[in-house]
């Protein structure tokens, strides 16, 4: 199963397996990773699953959609060019080894 590493704002690293087709947000919630709230449950509506994509197969990431684009403009922590909503990142084999950093705040 492909793996993703989450780096907390305290620099603590947690690697988890994410089933193909599941979102990174769901996987993080399931693994009790602190720093992902996912309040809206994956409707790209709350901007509380914000992550910074640090490294990995970046070409395999899906494009930022128009709705995600609006939400990224409303994140609690600063938006950078690495910002994504983890509810919109669905796991594929090609994304195995992805590393994402969690922002200091989500709400």
């Amino acid at each position: 199963m492909p793996k993703v590493t989450f780096i907390g704002s305290d620099d603590k690293q947690t690697q988890i397996e994410v089933p193909v087709g599941h979102s990174l947000m769901e996987a993080a919630i399931h693994a009790n990773i602190n720093g992902i709230l996912g309040e809206c449950g994956g409707s790209a509506n709350c901007a509380t699953c914000h992550v910074y994509v640090e490294s990995g197969n970046l070409d395999a990431l899906p494009e930022v959609g128009v709705v995600e684009e609006e939400m990224l403009d409303a994140t609690s922590s600063e938006r950078t060019e690495k910002s994504r909503l983890s509810c919109q990142l669905f796991m594929t084999e090609a994304l195995d080894g992805l590393v994402v950093r969690l922002p200091p705040t989500q709400a």
Partner: protein, 399 residues
């Protein structure tokens, strides 16, 4: 048509008996299997947390263009022009969704929170010393009916039209009954009022209605689409929150231990509302319509067939929730789907959460005891679950 091996039920999800106690009906439905044919309406029903989610999220197979309710737009003409946000699929959907998402974003909400706090305090203060109240007309209804149209940027006169129109929109999700026909006999003037109040010139400055027209001016939407999105605000923004807040208030009144927790720690207000949305959502069911023949857990579903997805049942599904029938405001509710899920998940859900959080914080700060003082009454709308009456005995908090 559908497979001969389908499981069939005579359950009527629009009957008064069902409305009075949907949760025991859901238990029975869940025991029948992943998908059940409801012969009274010739529709399918899904009632498990795990099976509802794929139906709600796979929009290519399970379309919203067939209409938000029981009526099948692939086969019959809708009563009003279909919603360009609820009753449409991609590629048209994201454009409207993005415009609404912008207007209802956390950024907007951070700015309007202080006004919500002021209004919630005002409405709670108005009843705190009254002893016995009917909380629905006297406390719950006035709050969304003020803060929501204030946020859109609507004039103060005539706002009761929002309640009637909301009843019509959600009433149309069910079957045509004498109740519905009587309601719709008044549709003309109400619809005229609503459409007039969706227009650009009706928007007061600084509201989210004006933000929709900013998107029109930026070339993101046509003028007509702007009006239809404001119509979506006016359709779905008031009744839904009145019902959700009312059901949460009833749950708290009926569970004194939970009310005590909230009163001791008002920061639990948001969690209490989230739990109430799992436990007793105002949105008990949503519809999808198949775009093709599809195999669903071994049952063949035909093209253009309606599937009723029971969110209310998902919230009580013991396969997903421990002690599913227990109202527990300290529960870890993440993943509850009372607001729907996927591209059509409630676009106003963060707005609703903020409204409710602020309301229950104000209540916890000002009210000591809160108990039912008589039986509550359910309202008669097939598309929404909510109360028309909630008699409460209350005492103010001693400071």
């Amino acid at each position: 048509m559908s497979s001969a091996t389908r499981v069939t039920s005579d359950l009527d999800p629009f009957s008064p008996e069902f409305r009075a106690d949907p949760y025991s009906a859901y238990e029975k439905l869940r025991s029948l299997g992943p998908i059940v044919w409801l012969e009274k309406y010739d529709i399918w029903a899904v009632s498990h947390h795990e099976t509802i989610i794929p139906v709600l999220t796979d929009w290519e197979t399970y379309s919203n263009a067939g209409g938000g309710g029981l009526a099948n737009y692939f086969k019959e003409k809708p009563w009003r022009r279909p919603s360009i946000i609820l009753e449409v699929d991609p590629p048209e959907h994201p454009k409207a969704r993005a415009a609404l998402t912008r207007t209802l974003s956390p950024k907007t909400l951070r700015a309007i929170r202080p006004r919500f706090e002021q209004d919630a305090a005002m409405f709670v203060d108005a009843v705190a010393g009254r002893g016995e109240i009917d909380a629905i007309p006297e406390l719950v209804t006035p709050y969304p009916l003020k803060v929501f149209p204030d946020s859109v940027g609507m004039e103060a006169d005539g706002r009761e039209n929002l309640l009637t129109y909301g009843s019509m929109v959600f009433g149309s999700f069910g079957p045509v009954t004498p109740w519905y026909e009587e309601l719709m006999s008044r549709v003309g003037p109400v619809q005229d009022w609503i459409l007039a109040h969706c227009k650009r010139e009706a928007m007061l400055p600084g509201g989210i209605g004006e933000m929709i027209y900013d998107a029109v001016d930026a070339g993101d939407l046509t003028e007509e689409e702007g009006g239809l999105l404001v119509r979506s605000f006016l359709s779905a923004g008031v009744d839904t929150t009145i019902d959700s807040i009312g059901l949460c208030l009833r749950a708290l009144a009926e569970h004194p231990d939970q009310w005590a927790l909230l009163r001791e720690d008002p920061s639990l207000a948001r969690a209490a509302f989230e739990e109430a949305t799992r436990y007793d959502s105002s949105s008990q069911s949503l519809f999808r319509t198949t775009t093709r023949e599809v195999d669903f857990a071994g049952t063949t579903i035909g093209k253009h067939e309606k599937i009723m997805c029971f969110l209310g049942s998902a919230g009580r599904d013991p396969a997903r929730w421990e002690n599913a029938d227990t109202f527990d405001i300290r529960r870890r509710t993440v993943g509850q789907i009372g607001f729907g899920v996927g591209i059509h998940g409630c676009v106003g859900q963060m707005f609703a959460r903020l409204e409710a959080e602020v309301f229950f914080q104000a209540l916890a700060a000002r009210i000591e005891t809160l108990e039912p003082s008589g039986p509550s009454q359910l309202r008669l709308n097939p598309g929404l679950r909510g109360l028309s009456s909630l008699p409460l005995a209350i005492t103010p908090r001693k400071h």
